[in-house]
């Protein structure tokens, strides 16, 4: 799978790298609409999951691991979304990250083998955030 950084996300990446704007944590979210990310997307393009037990997860800056190399990689510990009720039926087509304060989209990725359907109590979706630059 490969992620996509929409135009908003590109602008923020540059603004943070060049100290034009103060960086923000990102918030990991699942989307329930059947979206393929595009360069023109904004956060509102994505319909966030609403199944019981779902909650967006804030990824704090200090917890990222960055390893310089070819490519240089930033990775984060696996994040787990867990259903807390049965008799649900909601498809999850991918994930997206938004900025914690501005709410602007950072990047998004469609699950290549999705959608993952949440049905039962205890069903889980696991995402290991990773982004590379070369």
């Amino acid at each position: 799978m490969t992620l996509l950084v929409p135009n908003n996300g590109e602008g923020d990446f540059l603004a943070y790298a060049l100290n034009k704007s103060a960086p923000e944590n990102v918030v990991l979210r699942l989307c329930q609409n059947n979206i393929t990310p595009s360069e023109t997307d904004v956060a509102a393009t994505y319909t966030e999951a609403t199944w019981t037990g779902y909650a967006a997860l804030t990824l704090t800056g200090a917890s990222w691991t960055i390893v310089e190399g070819a490519p240089t990689e930033a990775s984060y510990a696996q994040q787990i979304f867990t259903s807390t009720a049965g008799a649900q039926s909601q498809n999850n087509y991918g994930y997206y990250l938004t900025r914690a304060t501005s709410g602007r989209i950072a990047w998004a990725e469609r699950f290549s083998d999705g959608p993952y359907q949440i049905v039962n109590n205890g069903d889980q979706i696991k995402v290991t955030p990773k982004i590379t630059l070369d």
Binding site: T2, L4, P6, N7, N33, N34, I35, T36, P37, S38, E39, T40, D41, V42, T45, Y93, R110
Partner: protein, 77 residues
Amino acid sequence: MTGIRKGMWVKYKGKLGIANSIDGDTAEVHLVDERGLTTLVIPAAAVASLTQAAFADIPKPRRPDAGLARKLGYEVI
């Protein structure tokens, strides 16, 4: 050089889609419906067969403002 890039709204055989990934001369194109939702995955479309969509082709729920569209090369009439 066609200028097709990942995430671009494209036309493929007259249908609207998004270039989800590009690998050399081929691209995985995700066709979309009038709401911008994915309907069909074309796993290996020839990049040469793709053209950038026009602003008006982009489904309304996912259409950016005209100024941004122009900056990204979409024809705005």
